[in-house]
Symmetry: C2
């Protein structure tokens, strides 16, 4: 007779799709500073790639003096670096756009926070000696398949501008949270790009190509682009850094509480610097109250936990707003910038509470 | 190195709350005729009760000639009956009400379909000899706790009118899907009331009381009541039978498909008889096309699977409507009857699809 304690108190991933597998972190029920690997959100464009001996080899070639093939075990023998960072899908919160955007209807859980260990991409690029005139670095994953909008088989592939790729915290990672990266998250090698949305952190890294021209792959020029107009593709801008954002984890939207003191708690994050303020409003934004932050200044890519003790004596319906500000001065807007593919939703967060 | 096949292709329950535990069946990803027990939705009012020796005793008393205490093992020695039925929480689909109703924001997954084995309640009531003038049978669960809206500790308790309680398919169940009822679903004994919403099927059954007056417990007279007006409690009606309802399981809402043939599939169910028709509309309800049903006429409390092959060549955005009809002539309405606590949402189901 199994004890129910073993399988309750435990949240589970929310399934959005099975093939390819897309599942959300149960973010409202996790107050872990580091998201356990089994709770990391899973976002796939294609079915999981097969792992072969080639999966352990990483060729770096193209516009370089000395192309090289790095073996997984060699990379593990090199000086390593650890980065603690927020990984967020640019489609996180897509379901909140009005009018709705087509695609995976992510709620709040396409975000996780982990410790990645690997070698710096810069150290590898120094070894192959990038030639003058190099513009972008292309990262190609082992995952591949068809698209609904064009013919052919495509590998998932993304590029970074050379200056971003050379940032000292961009990693070729082989560990997540102290263990080998799980299959679902890019084993054996994954690119890790702090402060950028997750589409940049290419999983199951197959090869790296240095080019002297802009990369035109569909995951670079068709997807992960902000299209602000429904009718046309004018004013398109690429998706890059994570926008200032936050959620209220507890209490849950449309929950019923009694009078008394309740803890309101949540998370705030940004790809443009650290979180400086999280504010709550109980009067639709006329006045704002600062929440208490737990910040670790050493962790510049981390999320920030926040809390506020709410004493409520009057029965009735309340709307609680939450907004965060980062060290670059970015603040969550009341209205998110609508875009056709539904990326980067970061409007002021709202929960509706009934006190009875 | 674990195989990813073992933990993909597997959906998981969606967590709505941990204490008390409320989790949804991942209904869009299960095409099992019988919902595996681990995928049954979990709906709790209080934390799980402790199991003690008393949990295996079932007293039946009150307005009877010969009160008796039945032991779990004695019940298992009696002639048994199996019922295959839909179990649906009356709050299923609550999140779709506009204006939204407070409470657990169930999407489509507060529904499961299982095989319950037990003894008929009637056989036990015959043994205690219900006295003339008995009006209701009260079922009290071991689960108890506080409420936000009144002082005190309450056990979960519900009553049935005597005529409903005497229906030959109302069971005191001890098995689900061929095994002991899991803890989360009422072990060791659970009342099973076919065709009624789940609130009637009291879990962790503690005692049964026969009364000659209406039962006034809060889960009978405050909760599980349709309150059609926001401002007052006029025209209140108790929640009883499951309303005619259906969902489209696949494709998912706001998904993107290519041109060609796609299977549209789903489930339909009713607590007022069997499903006679499931229709789809691609023109907002002007015209309807019949879906293909897989019905098992022997299973009068079961859900019905349905499917339709959709050949689509024109790119663009589509809205697909789905509605079911039952053998009593009930049809899903375009608009669900709004009620303050958000029970019985059964409006025509909609998915939005983009073909590109």
């Amino acid at each position: 007779m199994k004890s129910f304690h073993s399988d309750t108190m435990k949240p589970t991933l929310k399934t959005l799709k099975l093939i390819p597998e897309n599942k959300e972190t149960p973010i409202h029920f996790l107050r872990n500073w580091i998201t356990p690997s089994e709770y990391f959100y899973r976002r796939n464009h294609f079915k999981y790639p097969e792992i072969t001996p080639q999966s352990f080899l990483l060729p770096i070639y193209g516009h370089v003096e000395a192309p090289l093939v790095f073996h997984h075990s060699y990379l593990k023998s090199m000086p390593s670096k650890k980065i603690t960072m927020v990984l967020e899908c640019s489609g996180n919160k897509r379901t909140y756009f009005e009018p709705k955007a087509y695609g995976e209807q992510w709620e709040d859980g396409a975000i996780s926070h982990g410790i990645w260990k690997g070698v710096t991409l810069k150290s590898l690029l120094d070894m192959v000696v990038v030639k003058h005139g190099a513009k972008e670095i292309v990262f190609i994953g082992h995952d591949k398949g068809t698209r609904t909008d064009m013919e052919g088989i495509f590998h998932y592939a993304r590029s970074l501008p050379i200056d971003v790729a050379l940032q000292p915290d961009v990693l070729i990672a082989y560990e997540l949270n102290g263990s080998t990266i799980p299959y679902e998250h890019g084993y054996p090698l994954r690119l890790i790009v702090p402060q950028w949305y997750g589409m940049a952190s290419v999983k199951w890294l197959k090869e790296i190509q240095i080019i002297d021209h802009p990369f035109k792959g569909p995951f670079q020029t068709v997807d992960y682009v902000y299209y602000p107009h429904k009718a046309n593709d004018l004013d398109a801008r690429p998706v890059t850094n994570i926008k200032i954002n936050s959620i209220i984890q507890q209490p849950l939207d449309y929950s019923i509480l009694d009078t008394g003191t309740h803890e309101i708690c949540g998370i705030a994050w940004s790809g443009h610097g650290s979180i400086t303020t999280v504010e709550l409003s109980f009067d639709n934004g006329s006045t704002w109250i600062k929440a208490k932050l737990s910040v670790d200044p050493k962790q510049k890519y981390s999320w920030t936990f926040w809390r506020y003790l709410w004493n409520v004596q009057k029965k009735g319906e309340y709307t609680i707003l939450c907004r965060a500000e980062d060290s670059s001065g970015n603040v969550q807007p009341f209205e998110a910038e609508w875009n056709k593919k539904g990326y980067g939703f970061n409007a002021v967060y709202k929960v509706h509470i009934k006190i009875e």
